[in-house]
Symmetry: C2
Subunit: 197 residues, 2 copies
């Protein structure tokens, strides 16, 4: 497959509706390195935007303060590489606002692809998702904080991406690791060379 120079992949990190430790639905707090690590990986692999969705007002204000530090405050001058990656971030209170941001910049409503560590019947393979990521219309690949996206939310998405390593006994990657590995599988030059897509 001849690949376009730019993917149409966008990423969202949801802080609601996600699962708590005992399976209840919660709104989670932000984690500073979720902003840094996922923005840096997204910039490295050519992701088009990183949508951070946080319904809690105080948590959203903290996230915006951190982003402002790196995009226009002291951090933007002390570390221009970090500034570039933070410029990918858009912070919203809910998923509709994140989708609207993508509609405004691309002209299309994105397909929604949920991620989960659980194997679900009919999930989308990495090969198929990679094809979609280089097609004309935007994809929004959605990750959950805490113990992951809620089952009801996953069922409302257009597709569910296959888990990273579903047959492992231990299956507890951080969301930062999961995003990094999935971006490499979907957009990595390594796989352009190796895989017959």
């Amino acid at each position: 497959m001849k690949q376009l120079s730019k993917s149409n992949l966008h990423i969202a990190l949801l802080h609601y509706p996600v699962l708590g430790k005992t399976g209840e639905i919660i709104a989670s707090a932000i984690t500073n390195l979720d902003l840094h690590d996922i923005a840096r990986a997204s910039t490295t692999y050519g992701v088009q935007s990183y949508q951070v969705v946080i319904p809690l007002d105080d948590q959203r204000r903290i996230a915006k303060d951190i982003c402002n530090h790196w995009t226009s405050g002291y951090g933007s001058r002390s570390n221009p590489d970090r500034k570039k990656s933070f410029e990918l971030i858009n912070i919203s209170s809910d998923l509709d606002a994140a989708k609207n941001h993508i509609i405004q910049t691309t002209g299309y409503s994105p397909q929604l692809i949920a991620t989960t560590a659980q194997m679900i019947d009919g999930c989308l393979s990495y090969e198929k998702c990679r094809h979609l990521a280089y097609s004309e219309k935007p994809l929004l690949l959605i990750f959950g904080t805490a113990w992951g996206l809620s089952k009801d939310f996953i069922e409302q998405c257009d597709h569910v991406l296959e888990p990273i390593e579903p047959h492992r006994e231990y299956n507890h990657l951080s969301v930062r690791s999961a995003v990094s590995i999935i971006l490499d599988r979907l957009l990595g030059d390594f796989h352009n060379k190796k895989l017959d897509f």
Copy 2:
């Protein structure tokens, strides 16, 4: 290639000798999520040990306190999955002590494989490194904190692994992302299925 059920891969995270922002050699401080994320990814992919090398006494004490919380303190009871991943961690003051820990558990001195974001002539491909990771003798794959391993240190290693995405304009992954992606490329079931090793 028929793969052995267990790899012989060990990981080290060095806090010295690594580069500071302006290229000087520094001893870096610990980052809590370096312990968590790399231990979780290492456990997921079947890494044999995670060697955290910290020369600064106070920083090493902090790292040990964090590890004790998760392996024998309250954290070990509140989150047994996290306990399992932290049990992979061995904290040392220098690389020789980390190597001795591997010699004591395996009977062999490990081959040392440095990682860097820079392309270096004669670097080891992922395919060759994957073969070595499933051979009889242990490999110690070494990552640097801060701005990466020093040039002199890299030259003392047996091999240097090829960079993750050397042809990208933006090349600033966190060490947590870099470890996750490299473990997936070297040990992931995804690649067992796809690649003709």
